[in-house]
């Protein structure tokens, strides 16, 4: 019995790993998407709008199954077509990270776009007037201020992303939900194991919430709050 609990606890490391890697992918895609939406070039805007609209209208699970099963066959067809005899199995970790990252990239795009729009236009204009290049302006002026506006919605996205990692168990990654399901099948006492896993998720979300609140306080230093 205890071995199962230890196993689930170990699986939680994988959950943390998947979620953090997926977060990095989604932040990258989110920044790219926000840049595309704000670029004003019709093709880029249309591409990014299509990405965010379609992804947010399809269940995470369906996207995941599509990438996992479809991706495996697609790659193998490609290999066959190029004359290679090798077959490839997609690693569930990679499939999970990429799909969750891809899905939450769409949500992050909206978060970052809104945050960038909240920064007064004078800030970037002043940076240009000082002769800063576009990347310099982004790194020195836009990004540090964007964090504050993006954090509330970023926190939401992150909490939803953490919970989405439980879905990766359905494509066979041995993270804690998967291990809990196995343990309950083996011992016929599902209640304890699922409750234990739920508790671990709750700890993870609570710690995240606490850390992001601290971060928010750090990035809101020196901003004036209206007093009612």
């Amino acid at each position: 019995m205890n071995a199962y609990y230890a196993g689930i606890l170990q699986g939680s490391l994988l959950t943390v790993g998947v979620s953090l890697c997926a977060l990095l992918v989604s932040i990258g895609l989110g920044l790219l998407g926000a840049a595309a939406k704000l670029s004003g070039r019709p093709v880029m805007v249309a591409l990014a709008t299509g990405y965010t609209t379609i992804i947010r209208g399809i269940p995470d699970l369906v996207v995941m199954l599509l990438v996992f099963y479809g991706g495996t066959i697609g790659i193998n067809h490609l290999l066959e077509w190029s004359g290679s005899k090798a077959t490839v199995d997609i690693n569930p970790f990679l499939a999970g990270v990429l799909t969750i990252g891809f899905i939450y990239g769409a949500y992050m795009t909206e978060t970052f776009r809104g945050a960038i729009l909240s920064i007064p236009k004078g800030q970037t204009e002043a940076a240009w007037a000082f002769g800063m290049s576009r990347p310099q302006t982004f790194l020195r002026i836009t990004m540090p201020q964007m964090v504050r506006y993006a954090l509330p919605s970023f926190t939401n996205n992150w909490l939803v992303l953490i919970k989405a990692t439980a879905l990766v168990s359905l494509i066979g990654l041995k993270e804690m939900t998967y291990l809990a399901k196995q343990a309950s099948a083996a011992t016929r006492s599902p209640f304890e194991f699922f409750l234990f896993t739920a508790g671990l998720f709750l700890i993870y979300t609570t710690v995240s919430l606490y850390a992001l609140r601290k971060l928010n306080a750090r990035y809101s230093l020196g901003t004036k709050r209206g007093q009612l």
């Binding site: 399809i58 995470d60 479809g70 939900t177 016929r188 998720f201």
Partner: protein, 237 residues
């Protein structure tokens, strides 16, 4: 791509059954969850501190754990409890715990109730003080103020956030496919995939169905916002 497989009668029927199950799950869990959410929101903003605490803890746990685990807990977990096992063969409410549809419905309802209750409670708390004072100065009782002034306005102001929740719920129903013997749209796609080994066609068809359903729901909410939130819309003249 072999799209013609999707349009074969038996597969169309499979997707059709899936759509009915998905929509059935969605609307019944929204109905049950909506009633629960209203009760919870009233308790969250009510005068009894222990109940506020209890409901607050409930929404915190529901919102902090994955829906998949909640579904597993109800579908696999509750069946393990001897207390329920002793009853689910003949005592009435407990006989339902053997049905996958009921278990999925229960999990989804409890889940959406947690999220919706917090939204509604937020809207109730943000009701402007003037509206409440005006109602009180007309001599309305606490109950009347709630029923006639606070709730109608709070429910309207929850609409935009609630439309998000409904679309999220539509997508969450895809988790029903994780329960064996539930045939929703995702499960139908999985069956077509395993029968024909055509993942792209099978899951893309499911994705298209969800996309259309999402757009319809969003459209309905846009219309109802135009109707019920007309007084908050920016002035056009």
């Amino acid at each position: 791509m072999k799209w013609h497989v999707i349009f074969e009668p038996q597969n169309l029927e499979l997707y059709g059954t899936g759509i009915l199950t998905t929509l059935g799950l969605l609307f019944s869990s929204l109905a049950v969850g909506g009633v629960l959410a209203l009760i919870f929101a009233l308790l969250l903003t009510g005068p009894w501190a222990p109940l506020r605490w209890l409901v607050g803890a409930y929404t915190y746990v529901i919102r902090g754990t994955p829906l998949l685990i909640q579904v597993y807990l109800i579908y696999y977990g509750l069946g393990q409890l001897e207390w329920i096992q002793a009853r689910w063969d003949d005592v009435w409410p407990w006989t339902h715990f053997k049905e996958p549809f009921f278990c999925a419905l229960l999990a989804f309802s409890l889940n959406t109730a947690g999220y919706t209750a917090e939204m509604l409670a937020g809207a109730i708390r943000e009701t402007s003080a003037g509206e409440i004072e005006a109602a009180q100065s007309f001599g309305m009782s606490r109950f009347q103020v709630m029923l006639r002034v606070v709730l109608p306005s709070a429910m309207r102001r929850t609409l935009p956030a609630y439309s998000n929740e409904v679309v999220m719920m539509l997508q969450s129903t895809s988790l029903a496919s994780a329960v064996p013997s539930m045939l929703d749209v995702t499960a139908a796609a999985s069956r077509v995939y395993s029968d024909y080994y055509l993942p792209f066609e099978a899951y893309l068809a499911a994705a298209a169905i969800y996309l259309v359903a999402s757009f319809c729901l969003i459209g309905v909410f846009k219309l109802s916002e135009r109707h019920w939130l007309a007084y908050l819309a920016p002035r056009k003249h």
